[in-house]
Amino acid sequence: MRTKSLWYGMRPLLGREYAQARLFIFAVPIVHFLTLGLPRMNEWLWSEQSAGMIGRFQRNASAHGDLYRYVYDNGNHEVAGRLWLLLAAFVLALVQIGVERRNGSQELLFSLPYSRGRIFAAKWLLGASLFGGSLLLNTLIDAVVMAASPASHYFRADYFAVQFGYSLLVVLAGYSCALFIGTVTGSVASQTILTWVLAALPIVFVELLDASLQAHGIYMSRQGGYDSYSPMLWGDRIRIWLNFFGYASAQYLAITWVKAIFLIGLTIVSAGLGLLAYSRNPTENNGKLMVFKRGETVLRYGFVICASMVAGMLGTELFRLSAGDQFGYDIGFVLGCALSALGIRNLLRMRFKY
């Protein structure tokens, strides 16, 4: 009874979300098919090389992973599909939150007799259903293609189950993060920029920190790169853990439970924070870089720290002083700190039309 009333309560909201993202509902599965099912068909149904590939596998296969390398191309088609879905998730989040702030839809939704939490849940559900549906449909098509191909002998149901589950986790995590960023930013422009900046930030930040510490003689990463035989330091591990694109582009054999659990955690945390931020959304701040005061503070300090470190690195290169790298870095850092603090102060005061 309660489920029924919840559904009826959600129906108009889901209908509104559908009307808003109608183009996506059709475009996402089609383009997903172009990145997953179609290349697989090309490879196994229409390619004259498919029989040769089977022969090569039978001659060379010695290890467990060779099956996935020769027959399933290491899961690279799924990786391409995931990256496409992540791009679609970013645009959908932009339409659902950023564009809505601009065109008055948010005000219409907030005036309706629904809690903001329910409105956010409808948005998330629509996106999750869309991406889940697209993944299910295209994974089934992919499985059917494999089952009907000359390589049908090597059909592995668990391969498709793992790819479906892992891809869903990657896309839901990315989508939830994109929605969350939308709930704290005040315009389409700031949502776009911050989504991509934050996606790359963990890695960029670690690189900046690494360079900054190196200028002061402290090493957090192994020297000589991955080809060296030196052991990994904590900086190297952070780089691996925080690289979201590393999770998104994981080939079949690199998929692990640890990665899956990280993605589940990321989805829960970002969806929860998004729900909280959307419920407390101060609509009067629409158009600003950030809608929350705390968000402004985080952005202000984050921007100043990163810009100062970039300026410090430039300073290291520009002021090659006899006193060593540290002085050049420090000069750049202080200059960068002052200029970026001034710049971000002005940016935070502005209101953007888009």
Binding site: Q20, G104, L108, S111, L112, R280, P282, E284
Partner: protein
């Protein structure tokens, strides 16, 4: 039916509403007036749950519309631009509202759209500004909600359409619907409202429409003997509306404590003729000295 208590709101650090409070009984119509940027739209948005107040609460049927949004099943807000409906046809919008508002009347909606000459199957994006406002008003009133909040419903529409919209509002009020109308059409508001809410310096003053100016201000046509008393005319208790030859049209503070009327009498003018005080006069009296908030 609707109560606002101690509402306050700051935007960009500036106080827009301070300790605002008012009540609206069921079946009554209130006009919300104030200068541009005074906070009328902000107040309506708080009343409809779009904005959260920094302090205070809005109660509809004794339920907080911010804590219990379900209470808004009988409360509709019609904004001054229905941009949110771009991409929808009239039917599409009616279908959505029909799912949300339990007493939505599709027949009334269709009849009203036909009455306005608006096509039901055309995208709202392709409507003119006036057509959009008429559509928006028709959609809001079709919910048959007990309270409808309208933000400048006659904004940008031609005089004929304006008359049609106002007629529609008066019919809705006659049917027992409560309305809060923000508008600059003072003459129309005077005719159709039961109460006038004047938004001034972040606070709301409530006046009954019939006697909005009673005990506050009187309007007089005066001819002085000899030269007009410049100092008296420039005093805070007097406002000169018009001056043709020796004939002055004045607004005079008649609130208790004001001595303006007694002073005028002591001047023994040649002519003192009382004129009916209109809402516009009260507006000028109350808000004439205010600068734009923005």
């Amino acid at each position: 039916m609707l109560k606002a208590r101690h509402l306050s709101k700051r935007i960009d650090g500036k106080p827009v509403l301070t300790e605002v409070g008012f009540e609206l009984e069921a079946g009554k119509v209130a006009g919300l007036i104030g200068r541009n940027g005074a906070g009328k739209t902000t107040l309506l948005k708080i009343m409809s749950g779009i904005l959260d107040p920094d302090g205070g609460e809005v109660l509809f049927e004794d339920r907080s519309i911010h804590r219990e949004p379900e209470a808004k099943r009988e409360l509709v807000f019609i904004p001054d631009t229905p941009e949110a409906w771009y991409g929808y046809t009239g039917w599409g919008a009616a279908y959505m509202f029909g799912q949300i508002y339990p007493r939505f009347d599709p027949v009334y909606f269709k009849d009203t759209m036909n009455r306005f000459g608006l096509p039901l199957d055309r995208n709202i994006r392709h409507f003119s500004k006036g057509m959009r406002m008429m559509f928006s008003t028709a959609l809001g009133l079709s919910t048959r909600a007990r309270l409808v909040l309208l933000d400048e419903p006659t904004n940008g529409i031609d005089p004929i359409a304006k008359k049609q919209v106002l007629t529609l509002l008066m019919e809705a009020a006659a049917d027992g619907m409560s309305l809060v109308v923000s508008s600059h059409l003072l003459e129309e508001l005077e005719r159709m409202t039961d109460a006038i809410w004047i938004l001034r310096s972040g606070t709301v003053e409530t006046h009954a429409s019939e006697s909005a100016a009673e005990g506050i201000v009187s309007k007089l046509q005066v001819v002085f003997q000899g030269d007009a008393p410049a100092a008296w005319l420039n005093s805070a208790d007097v406002r000169v509306l018009d001056h043709i030859g020796r004939v002055y049209t004045l607004l005079l503070n008649v609130a208790s404590g004001s001595t303006a009327a007694a002073e005028l009498e002591s001047m023994n003018p040649l002519l003192v003729e009382p004129l009916p005080v209109r809402l516009e006069d009260l507006y000028v009296w109350k808000l004439g000295g205010e600068t734009y908030a923005n």
